[in-house]
Symmetry: C3
Subunit: 187 residues, 3 copies
């Protein structure tokens, strides 16, 4: 009798367990990051006079634009390529821990907004590998979320969300982005 | 005796269960979307005469091209930046529910084909957040699949497939894309 | 007595099992690929004289550059669009099995480095569908890892890492990339 009851109890348990494992990828996801990191990167746009210091340059522009001056209409149509130093604090002169490499395109006439495709590339004792990003960057918002779409090396197969915040903006030559990276898939 | 038999049965069940849970990320995935959405977006390319209405512009072109006219050879080499209204139906004049922002590059000489990198950006009571896309768009196919590579806000960490269909194509100035989004990873 | 003992044993087993399934997306991930593939693709850059054979063209360049010659300073700022044949071996004249379509942007002044966004597009009896890639390509490294950010058709929802290796580099017109694709998410 007791054996039968225990058997029943176990079957019930098993049924419950098998239901809860049926769609594990859907039910067990938590929004708690598996890794969080904070970086800053620094962009100095080429303006015709700063070839030595510049870390980025306009390489595409609309018919009415040119390549030494960001165009009017909120820079709509300007394509900028960059290779920016990444630092751990907000000081341009701190020792870089990696490079932010890729592009942004200003894509709206009414307000500042850009589309970003870039990577953080690390090759130090602390981090080796890359984190790849893509997404819309509505610059005028205090914070903007873009996607971490993949990673390699230390960041193998990473996915997550990065929150960008403009930490400084000087003239139309220098800006600094605070980047809070939260990974939700770590391997 | 009965207890022993039940024990055996349970061990068999457990073995089976543990096998089926050993690689859950691989075996339990279904191709049933966790979220499906349908949108249209509308692209009006700048042609030198329509600055007011245009939602996109050529910002890169090959040596033989220019920026007010899509080039010959199936526009090979033209890079177009866009900020297009998204609507729920196929009417250009319907109230936009968001913006499609990013770029496409025509990348083939023999037929129309482009590579797309863009986002759907929503900021309404219905949807807040963004969906990021990337992929090849062989325009001449009736339907084309691209990847949903990430998302933020309401679409946090989304992954999936979007099916594009050219819903209208007028002159070389206006086209409308029907976009069926199917997410297979929802958080 | 025996029934009680077996009950206890089973509860212990179940507890263990339920712990091991609690966070399956995090704990059960293995770095063993679910699919591995090897391809080569071949890029012939337009240089003003090879329009017939060229598979790619410069469509963006910095202020000091032009579109028939890769610029100095390690091509910094050159944006190249491509539609390259994919082959199974390293012979340019082998029958193509698909096309590599997308773009790269040289993004560093000091050394050769590019950012890549592209797709492998297949439409044969062997493979139908596309694989989408993004990432940094520090060309001077023997091998470079980029991300597989999605896929469609036969490669539905794929994620993984692709390892690029420069297999040939002739003048500044032709290069061939060996591409080892390892998928870690297969659906």
């Amino acid at each position: 009798m007791e054996a039968k009851r225990s058997l029943l109890a176990i079957f019930l348990l098993l049924s419950f367990l098998s239901i809860s494992t049926a769609a594990p990828t859907r039910k067990t996801r938590t929004r708690k990051p598996c890794k969080s990191m904070l970086f800053y990167f620094h962009d100095i746009i080429y303006n015709g006079h700063n070839a030595k210091n510049a870390t980025s340059a306009i390489v595409g522009s609309p018919q009415w634009g040119n390549k030494t001056l960001l165009t009017g209409q909120n820079h709509f149509g300007d394509l900028v390529v960059f290779d920016d130093p990444i630092t751990l604090d907000n000081n341009l002169h701190s020792k870089p821990v990696g490079r932010a490499q890729g592009f942004y395109i200003y894509d709206k006439k009414d307000i500042f907004t850009a589309w970003l495709g870039f990577s953080f590339v690390f090759n130090s004792t602390q981090h080796k590998g890359s984190i790849n990003f893509a997404g819309a960057d509505p610059l005028m918002n205090k914070t903007r979320d873009i996607s971490v779409i993949g990673g390699t090396g230390d960041f193998f197969m990473a996915r997550g969300v990065a929150t960008l915040m403009t930490d400084a903006f000087e003239g139309e030559v220098y800006f600094r982005l605070r980047t809070d990276i939260n990974l939700y898939e770590c391997w």
